[in-house]
Amino acid sequence: MITLSHVSKKFGFHEALRDVSFSTKRGEIIGFLGPNGAGKTTTMRIILGILAPTSGSITIEHMSPIAQRMKLLKNVGYLAENNPLYPEMTVEEYLLFIASVKNAELYYDLLYEVGLEDYMHSTISTLSRGYKQRVGLAAAIIGDPDILVLDEPTSGLDPIEQKHIRDFISRLGKEKTIIFSTHILSEVEDIAKRLIIINKGEIVFDGNKPKGKGKVESLFTKIIMAEEHAKKKKRGVRKKIKK
C-alpha cells in the first residue's frame, strides 16, 4: 500500500533520512518509533508529499504523493505533529471546511465517536489540548480514508485522553492502514501490530511487535543503546588513532 524505497532526505548538509525502505500492507497498524529528531516527522511528511525526498522513491497505492497528490490525498488522512488547526474557527466550521475540501460529508456519528458532540459550536482556541487533538483526529478521518498517517497523536495529553485516543485508533485500525509515530513505548505496545524503529535517520528495526508487557521497551532500549554504544566505540577508536 505504502512503499518507500531507498528514501533519503537532506536539509542542507544535515541528512535527516538515510536509505529508508519499508512497505505496508492493508489493515496494518504500524508504530513508528524513535527518539526525538530521529526522522519520524520527516518520513511522514515525505509519505504525504509535503516534502520531496532528496533521493529514492515513494508510492501509495502505486501513485506518487507529489505528482498525483490531488487524487491520492482524498484517500489519506493526516494528523500533523502539534496538530495545526485554525484557532479562530468553531469545531463545526473547521470540520465542515475539511469535509468540503475533501469533497466528503461530515457525519454527526463521527463527532459522537471522537467525543466532540458537545463542542460543535466551541471556538477551537478555547478547547483543551485533548479536545483539540480530537478535532485533529476527526478531521483526519473525514472522508473515510483507507490510510491514516498520525504524527504523535497522543503527544502532550493526560493519561485519560491518551487512552481515549489509543482506543479510538485501535478501533479504526480494524479496517484501515494506520502508521503512527510516537516516542511513547506503551502506546506501541497497546495498539501497534508492527513496529518500525528509526534512529538518526536510519531504520534500525522493522518487524512484528514483540509480545508481552515491557518487551517493546526492552527491544527499543536494547537497539538504541546498542547504536549509541557502537557510535561511542567508533568515536573512541578515532580518538585513539588521532593520538
Binding site: 490531488m70 482524498k74 500533523a80 460529508e105 454527526y108 463521527l110
Partner: protein, 256 residues
C-alpha cells in the same frame, strides 16, 4: 457510518468549486476578525481625510489628487492584509495542514489573492462617497466632474492593488516572520514608487530614469487616472501580477 443527519447540505452549492471554498475560508477569517475591519476602515478614513483636507485648496473638481494618494496608502494597507497569509500559516503550521489536503498550490494561492483583493475592493467602495460629494460641490459651483476618468481611475487602482497583493503574497511566502514580510514589501514597493518621482529622477542619467520610470506602478497608473486605458499599463499590471503569482506557486511547490 450512517448516511443521515449530514450537515453539508447547506454547502451543497459549494461542492464542485474548491477555489470558492478556500476563498470563503480566507474571507471569513477577515470578516470574523477585527484585523479585516480595522484595515478597511483605516484605509477609508485615511483616503477620505487626505483627499478632503486639500479639496478646497486645490479648487479642482477632479479625483486625481485622490488617486495620487492611494498608492502610498496601499503600500501600508496591502501588506497589513497579506503579511499573515503565508507567514502566519507557516508559523501555525497550518500550511502543512493545507498541503496535506487534496487542494492544489494554485488554488491555495488564488484563494488568498482574491480574498485580499475583495477586502481592498470593499475599502475602495467606502471611498465612493468622494466622487459623489465632489460632483454635488462642483455642480453648486457651476462646474462638473468627469466620471469616465474616475471610473478608469478606480479600475487602475484595482489593477495596482492586484499587483501589490501578488508581490506581498510572494514576500509572505519567502519568510516565516510577519514583520520581515511586511518590511521587505514596504521597501520593495517604496523603491518602485519613488522611481517615478522627480526627486529621484533628478539624480539619475536619462536612460536609467526612463527605464525606472516605466517600472514604477505610479507611472503606469497615471494613464488610468487621466481617463486613458493604456494597453501598455494594462499589460504591465497584468504581467507583473501573473509573474509574482507564478513565482509564488513555484515557491509553494518547492518541497524542500
Amino acid at each position: 457510518m450512517n448516511d443521515f443527519s449530514t450537515v453539508m447540505e447547506r454547502y451543497a452549492h459549494f461542492k464542485n468549486n474548491m477555489l470558492k471554498r478556500l476563498y470563503k475560508k480566507e474571507l471569513t477569517y477577515y470578516l470574523n476578525n477585527a484585523v479585516g475591519y480595522i484595515v478597511i476602515v483605516l484605509f477609508a478614513v485615511f483616503a477620505n481625510f487626505l483627499f478632503v483636507k486639500d479639496i478646497f485648496v486645490v479648487g479642482e473638481a477632479s479625483m486625481r489628487p485622490f488617486f495620487g494618494i492611494v498608492p502610498w496608502l496601499l503600500i501600508i494597507f496591502v501588506p497589513a492584509l497579506c503579511m499573515r497569509m503565508f507567514a502566519e500559516e507557516r508559523r501555525q503550521n497550518t500550511l502543512e495542514l493545507l498541503l496535506s489536503l487534496p487542494v492544489s498550490e494554485i488554488q491555495i494561492l488564488l484563494a488568498k489573492f482574491f480574498a485580499v483583493l475583495t477586502l481592498i475592493a470593499i475599502a475602495l467602495v467606502l471611498t465612493l462617497g468622494l466622487p459623489v460629494s465632489l460632483s454635488i460641490l462642483s455642480s453648486s459651483a457651476g462646474s462638473s466632474v468627469y466620471f469616465p476618468e474616475i471610473i478608469t481611475g478606480y479600475v487602475g487602482v484595482i489593477f495596482m492593488s492586484a499587483m501589490f497583493t501578488a508581490v506581498s503574497l510572494f514576500l509572505s511566502l519567502k519568510t516565516h516572520n510577519q514583520i520581515v514580510a511586511f518590511l521587505s514589501y514596504v521597501l520593495v514597493l517604496f523603491f518602485l514608487i519613488i522611481f517615478s518621482t522627480d526627486f529621484v529622477a533628478g539624480f539619475l542619467p536619462r536612460v536609467v530614469q526612463t527605464g525606472l520610470n516605466y517600472v514604477s506602478p505610479v507611472t503606469q497608473l497615471d494613464g488610468f487616472i487621466k481617463g486613458v486605458v493604456d494597453l501598455r499599463s494594462f499589460f504591465y499590471f497584468v504581467s507583473v501580477t501573473t509573474i509574482m503569482l507564478f513565482l509564488s506557486v513555484i515557491e509553494l511547490e518547492r518541497r524542500s
